[in-house]
C-alpha cells in the first residue's frame, strides 16, 4: 500500500524532452513523448481507473480497468501500455468504458472477501477505491462459486502478512520484486484460475529468497500484503518526511504516525537517494526506538564496579563537568577527548567537536569514520582535492561498466544495490574485486563479467596491475590527462605502473587473480564506455587503505572516468552519516570543511566565531587515545553514540584502555558495551525523536524530523549544549537549524545550506554555495577541486600481518543485510530472525582438513586473542580465507582483529587477520570473562532500578 500522501501517476515518467500534444476528454495536454496515456491523463488531473499499474513499475496491461477510447484505434486500448502520439484524441469516460470496467470489477469482487470494515486497508485500498470509481453496485455471479477465499494466510515474515484470499493477481508484487528490488523471489504459480502469487518455489515468505525490502508490500493495491504494524495499530493519521538512520544510502521515508506512535515507515517516492525503495532495516526495523532496553534517566557512578545511581539531568551534568575539570587540573587538558558516531547527526557531531576544541581546549576529537572511511578522506583529498565521492546515486543509470571493489552492496547498501542490478539488467557490464563470491557476482539476471577473487590484503597489487595494463596497452585517455591532470605526477606514475614488476603476470602470485582476468577487466574498465567505481570497507580497512583509495583515483583519472554522469569514484559509506561526520570537522586534525587545524586563517575564523583560542596542533585519533590511556595521559572521554568496545579492533586492548580511565561519559540509547565501562550515562535520543540532518554517501544532506518527543526528555544536541554550559563554555541554540546556520557561516562548501532550503529542495548535495546554489550532483566537472588531478605512486607494501604455520588462514570481516554495525539497533528488532548470531564462514576444503562440519563450534585464534563461533561451511569464501561479522558482542570478532592499521590514517586493518580455526566444545577464555563482566554490569544496572523504587 502506498503512502496516503503519494500521488500515483500509474506509469513511470518519460525522460524525453520532446513534447507531444494530445486531447484527453476535450482537454488539450502536452506531455513528454513516450508517456503512457494513463500518465498523460494523470498529469492533466484526469483519473483513469487502474489496478495493475503503479508509477514505480513498467506498465503491464493485465487488469483491464484502464481501458480508453482513442480516435482511429480499434477497440479499447489499455491506457497504461499505450503511449501517446501527436494529435491523439482520447476519451477516458464513455458509457461503453463504464460498462467494461464495471464488468471487470464485478469479476474481481466475485472472488474477494467482503470484509472491508475489518480489513487493515479499509479506506485506503485501491480495489475498494476502484469499485467505487466504476460504480459497482452488484455482483451478478454471486459469491458461492469456486473461489480462493479459504486460502491460508502466510504470517511467517515477522513484518508483513500475505493473505492470498485478498489477492487479485495483478502481479504488482512480483514485478516490484523484479524491477525495483531485483531479487526475483516472487512468481505467479499456476495458470488461469489457479494463478497465485508464490514466494520462490511454493515456500513460505520466511523460507524463500525474499529479502523483506517491502517493495511488494508497497506495491500491493489490496490488503494481500500488509504490514503487521498496520494490522495491529490501524491506519496512520499523519506522516512526516524523514531520513533513515541506517546505512550510507540515506533513504528518505515517510514516518506514518498515529500521534507519537510510528505505524509504518514508507519509502518516500520523492526521496532523491532512494526514489521510493527501501530495505528490511529502514522499512521495518524501527522498533528499537521504543525497546524496553532504552535507558531514559541519566545515571552516574564512581567506579565501573559500582551500581548506577539515577540522577537528575542537572546532577549528571554537574558530576560530569566536575570530573572533567578535575582531570584537566590533575593531568592537563590533553587528558580529555571526545568521540562521536556516524549514527549522530551533522549538528550533533559539529557540537561535540566544538565542545572538545573550544570547551576541553584541545583537538582530541575523533569519529567512527576513523575505523571505516578515514582513508577515503585522505586519499581523495590528496588526488582530487576533496574528501568525498564524486557522483550522485542516479549517476549509475548512465554507467556502462560498474566496477565494485571491496564492497558488498546487496548487504551493506541494499537500496543502491537494487539500482546497480537494475542498470546491469539494462546491459551494463560488471567487474567485482572481492575475496568472496558476493551476491552480485552471480544472481538473478546479473552476472559479473569478471570476478577478481583476490587474496585479502592485496588490493594495491591488483590496482597496480590494472593500471599497468591500461598504461602499457595504450588505453590511457591522454586528452583527459593532458587537460585535467598534473604532467609531472602523471609521468612519474606512468613510469611506475609500466614497470614489469606491476604486470598482472608478475602480480598473479601475490593477488591470486589470473593475469588474463586482470587484463580483460582493465580493458573493459578503460574502453567499455562510462565506467564507475564503487568501493567499500574492503578497500579502506587495510594497512594500505589510503594507498588503495589513491590507486583507485589514479585509475579513474587515467581513463578520464571523472567529471560527468555515469563515471566517478564512489565510496559506499557504511553508516548513514559517515560523510557528514567527516564534513563536520570530527577528525582531530581538521576543522569543518576539511581544513587543517594548523591553517591560521581557518583557525582564526573559528576562534572569532567561538570566542576562544584554538590549539593549532592535531589531536589524538581513536587508537591513539587508547594508547594514551594505557600510558596514563588520557583520562576523560565524552563518547556520543559510538560503541568503541564492540566496534574497534583488539577488544582486550580497548577494554584495558577504558579501565585505565577515570571518567567516561557515554551518551547513547542503550547500555552498550562501552557504557559498561562508563561513569556517567546520558540517555540519548533516536532519529525519530529529534531534528537534524544526515549527509549520505553521495554528499546529500537530508533532514531528519522529530516525530515523537525524546523518551529521556532531551535531544542529543541539547545534551551537548547543557554539558558545555556546565563546563563553563556557553553553548546556546534554540533549534538545530541554528547550528546548521553556524556551520554554513563557517564552511565554504555549506554556505548555501539552510533548513529552509532543505525544506524547499528536499535535499542538497554539497558543495552548496554561491557557485552552486542548489548543490552539486557531480563533482570535478570542469576541473578538480585541487586544480589539476594528482597521480600518486602506489607501491604495493604487504601487510605485516602474515599467515604462518600457527595461523594459516586469513580472516576478513564484514556485514550482512539484516543486521547493522554493532547491532545495537537491529538486534532489538525482529531482524534477528534472519541472523541470530555471527557465524564464521570457511571453505569446504579448509573445513574438511580440520574435521569441521557445518554448524560446529570452532575456536578462532589470532596473535591477539581467541573467540568461539559457530561455523558455516561455504564455497563463498576461497580456500585459505575465513569470514565473519561483528554484529553480536558475545561473538568477539574484534577480540581477534589486530592493531595493524592504515599507514596514513590509522584506520584498522579489519580485513586481514591471520588465524587458526579448530573444532572446540566450549567458549573461549575471553568469552567466559566477557559473560561474567556483562552479568555484573547487568546486575549493576538492575540495582539502579531497585534504588529508584526504594527511594
Amino acid at each position: 500500500m502506498l503512502s496516503k500522501t503519494d500521488h500515483d501517476y500509474g506509469t513511470p515518467a518519460s525522460a524525453s524532452t520532446q513534447l507531444v500534444s494530445v486531447d484527453i476528454d476535450g482537454r488539450a495536454c502536452q506531455v513528454p513523448a513516450g508517456s503512457s496515456i494513463l500518465r498523460a491523463a494523470a498529469e492533466a488531473g484526469i483519473g483513469v481507473p487502474k489496478l495493475c499499474a503503479t508509477e514505480s513499475l513498467e506498465p503491464f496491461g493485465s487488469c483491464r480497468l484502464c481501458l480508453v477510447e482513442v480516435d482511429g484505434m480499434r477497440g479499447y486500448p489499455a491506457s497504461c501500455t499505450t503511449p501517446v502520439a501527436e494529435g491523439m484524441k482520447i476519451r477516458t469516460q464513455t458509457p461503453a468504458l463504464a460498462k467494461l470496467r464495471r464488468n471487470t470489477m464485478e469479476l474481481y469482487i466475485s472472488d474477494h472477501p467482503l470484509d472491508c470494515l475489518t480489513c487493515p486497508t479499509n479506506g485506503h485500498c485501491e480495489l475498494q477505491d476502484m469499485a467505487g470509481a466504476v460504480g459497482l453496485r452488484e455482483v451478478r455471479y454471486g459469491y458461492a462459486g469456486e473461489n480462493h477465499l479459504d486460502l491460508p494466510k502466510d504470517e511467517t515474515n515477522p513484518y508483513f502478512t500475505f493473505d492470498s484470499s485478498k489477492c487479485i493477481v495483478c502481479s504488482r508484487c512480483v514485478r516490484a520484486c523484479e524491477e525495483v528490488q531485483g531479487t526475483f523471489a516472487l512468481t505467479i504459480e499456476g495458470r488461469g484460475f489457479e494463478s497465485r502469487v508464490s514466494p520462490s518455489a511454493g515456500e513460505s515468505f520466511l523460507e524463500s529468497e525474499c529479502v523483506s525490502c517491502g517493495a511488494c508490500v508497497q506495491a500491493c493495491p489490496t490488503a494481500t500484503l500488509s504490514e503487521k504494524t498496520l494490522i495491529e495499530k490501524g491506519q496512520p493519521e499523519h506522516s512526516v518526511v524523514t531520513t533513515c538512520a541506517y546505512c550510507g544510502v540515506g533513504c528518505s521515508f515517510k514516518a506514518e504516525m498515529k500521534g507519537e506512535e510510528v505505524v509504518r515507515m514508507v519509502p518516500n517516492q520523492d526521496g532523491h537517494a532512494n526514489h521510493g525503495h527501501s530495505c528490511v532495516k529502514g522499512r521495518f526495523a524501527f522498533g528499537y526506538a521504543t525497546h524496553a532496553d532504552r535507558i531514559t534517566s541519566p545515571m552516574i557512578r564512581k567506579s565501573i564496579h559500582d551500581a548506577w545511581t539515577e540522577v537528575s539531568w542537572d546532577e549528571a551534568y554537574a558530576y560530569a563537568a566536575s570530573e572533567l575539570k578535575r582531570i584537566a587540573a590533575q593531568y592537563g587538558k590533553g587528558a580529555l577527548g571526545g568521540i562521536t558516531s556516524s549514527r549522530c547527526s551533522n549538528e550533533e557531531t559539529y557540537l561535540v567537536q566544538k565542545l572538545v576544541r573550544a570547551g576541553f581546549g584541545n583537538n582530541n576529537v575523533d569519529t567512527c569514520a576513523r575505523v571505516c572511511h578515514s582513508p577515503t578522506g585522505y586519499g581523495l583529498k590528496q588526488t582530487m582535492g576533496e574528501s568525498a565521492g564524486t557522483q550522485n546515486f542516479d549517476s549509475v543509470d548512465h554507467a556502462d561498466v560498474i566496477f565494485v571493489i571491496g564492497a558488498n552492496p546487496t548487504d551493506g547498501h541494499p537500496v543502491f544495490a537494487s539500482r546497480i542490478k537494475h542498470r546491469l539488467r539494462a546491459g551494463a557490464r560488471l567487474i567485482v574485486a572481492d575475496p568472496r563470491t558476493i551476491s552480485l557476482v552471480r544472481g538473478p539476471h546479473v552476472k559479473a563479467d569478471y570476478h577478481l577473487k583476490l587474496k585479502p590484503g592485496t588490493n594495491v597489487a591488483l590496482i597496480n596491475a590494472l593500471a599497468h595494463v591500461i598504461v602499457t596497452e595504450g588505453l590511457v585517455n591522454e586528452a583527459f590527462v593532458a587537460a585535467r591532470c598534473e604532467d609531472e605526477s602523471y609521468a612519474t606514475w606512468r613510469e611506475f605502473v609500466a614497470d614489469p614488476a606491476n604486470a598482472p603476470e608478475a602480480m598473479e602470485a601475490i593477488t591470486g587473480v589470473p593475469a588474463a582476468d586482470v587484463r580483460a577487466a582493465a580493458r573493459l574498465y578503460a574502453t567499455g564506455g562510462n565506467a564507475a567505481i564503487y568501493y567499500g570497507l574492503g578497500v579502506t580497512e587495510h594497512s594500505q587503505g589510503s594507498t588503495m583509495v589513491m590507486g583507485i583515483a589514479n585509475l579513474a583519472m587515467a581513463t578520464g572516468n571523472l567529471g560527468r554522469e555515469g563515471v566517478g569514484v564512489n565510496p559506499l559509506r557504511g553508516q548513514n552519516n559517515v560523510q557528514g561526520a567527516c564534513d563536520m570537522g570530527s577528525f582531530p586534525h581538521e576543522l569543518p570543511g576539511y581544513r587543517h587545524i594548523s591553517d591560521t586563517t581557518t583557525r582564526t575564523l573559528f576562534e572569532g566565531a567561538w570566542g576562544v583560542h584554538l590549539s593549532p596542533e592535531p589531536g589524538l585519533r581513536i587508537p591513539n587515545m587508547f594508547e594514551a590511556a594505557l600510558d596514563g595521559s588520557f583520562k576523560g572521554l565524552y563518547c556520543q553514540g559510538e560503541d568503541i568496545v564492540q566496534s574497534d579492533p583488539n577488544t582486550q586492548h580497548v577494554s584495558a584502555a577504558l579501565e585505565a580511565m577515570e571518567c567516561i561519559i557515554v551518551q547513547d540509547l542503550f547500555l552498550n558495551e562501552t557504557a559498561k565501562f562508563a561513569h556517567v550515562f546520558l540517555p540519548g535520543s533516536s532519529f525519530l525523536e529529534k531534528d537534524g540532518t544526515f549527509t549520505n554517501a553521495e554528499r546529500r544532506i537530508s533532514r531528519i524530523r522529530r516525530v515523537m518527543r525524546p523518551l529521556a526528555g532531551k535531544a542529543d544536541w541539547q545534551i551537548t549544549c547543557d554539558l558545555a554550559n556546565a563546563l563553563g563554555y556557553p553553548m546556546h541554540y534554540a533549534h538545530p537549524s541554528e547550528i546548521m546556520a553556524e556551520i554554513a557561516s563557517l564552511t565554504p562548501t555549506f554556505t548555501g545550506v539552510s533548513y529552509q532550503k532543505l525544506d524547499e529542495l528536499g535535499s542538497i548535495q554539497w558543495p552548496c554555495n554561491a557557485n552552486a546554489p542548489e548543490g552539486t550532483p557531480v563533482m570535478h566537472v570542469d576541473a578538480f577541486v585541487r586544480g589539476r588531478g594528482r597521480f600518486v605512486v602506489t607501491e604495493y607494501v604487504p601487510t605485516p600481518e602474515r599467515t604462518s604455520r600457527k595461523f594459516p588462514l586469513l580472516l576478513t570481516t564484514g556485514r550482512i543485510l539484516s543486521q547493522y554495525n554493532v547491532g545495537a539497533q537491529t538486534r532489538r528488532t525482529a531482524n534477528s530472525i534472519w541472523h541470530a548470531e555471527d557465524l564464521i564462514e570457511i571453505h569446504p576444503h579448509d573445513a574438511e582438513e580440520r574435521g569441521i562440519n557445518d554448524g560446529d563450534w570452532v575456536g578462532v585464534a589470532s596473535r591477539v586473542g581467541e573467540t568461539v563461533l559457530r561455523v558455516h561451511v561455504t564455497p563463498r569464501v576461497q580456500p585459505g580465507v575465513v569470514y565473519t561479522t561483528f554484529h553480536f558482542p558475545e561473538s568477539g570478532a574484534n577480540v581477534i582483529t589486530t592493531d595493524h592499521s592504515d599507514w596514513a590514517t590509522n584506520c584498522p586493518e579489519y580485513k586481514v587477520t591471520a588465524v587458526q580455526v579448530t573444532k572446540v566444545a566450549q567458549p573461549s577464555e575471553w568469552q567466559r570473562r566477557y559473560r561474567a563482566f556483562s552479568d555484573e554490569q547487568a546486575k549493576l544496572l538492575a540495582e539502579r532500578h531497585a534504588a529508584r523504587s526504594d527511594s
Binding site: G334, N363, N364, T492, F496, S543, T547, P588, H589, H596, S598, E617, P618, G619, L620, R621, N624, E627, A628, L630, D631, S633, V793, E795, V797, P800, D899, S901, W903, A904, T905, N906
Partner: protein
C-alpha cells in the same frame, strides 16, 4: 622499548614505507616528517623523538630516522 613506543615506531615505519617510493630522497624524508607533524598529536611526536634521542632510533627505518631527526630539530627550534 615499551609497547606504546614500539607501536609508534611501527606506525612511523609504515609511513616511511609509503614515502620511500619517492625517488627524490629529500622530498621523501620531508613527506614522512610532514605527515607526522600534520597527523600526530604532540605527545606522540615527543615520544618518538625521545625514542630517537635515547635509543638512537632503534627500529626506525633509515628514512624515518632521518625524518625524525629533522622533526626533533624543528621541535627544538619551537621551544
Amino acid at each position: 622499548m615499551s609497547n606504546s613506543t614500539e607501536h609508534l615506531v611501527e606506525m612511523a615505519n609504515d609511513i616511511g614505507a609509503y614515502f620511500i617510493t619517492d625517488k627524490n630522497h629529500e622530498r621523501a624524508r620531508d613527506g614522512v616528517r610532514n605527515h607526522i607533524e600534520r597527523f600526530w598529536e604532540p605527545r606522540m611526536r615527543r615520544k618518538l623523538v625521545e625514542h630517537w634521542q635515547r635509543a638512537d632510533g632503534e627500529g626506525l627505518s633509515p628514512l624515518v630516522a632521518e625524518a625524525v631527526k629533522e622533526l626533533a630539530a624543528r621541535m627544538a627550534a619551537q621551544v
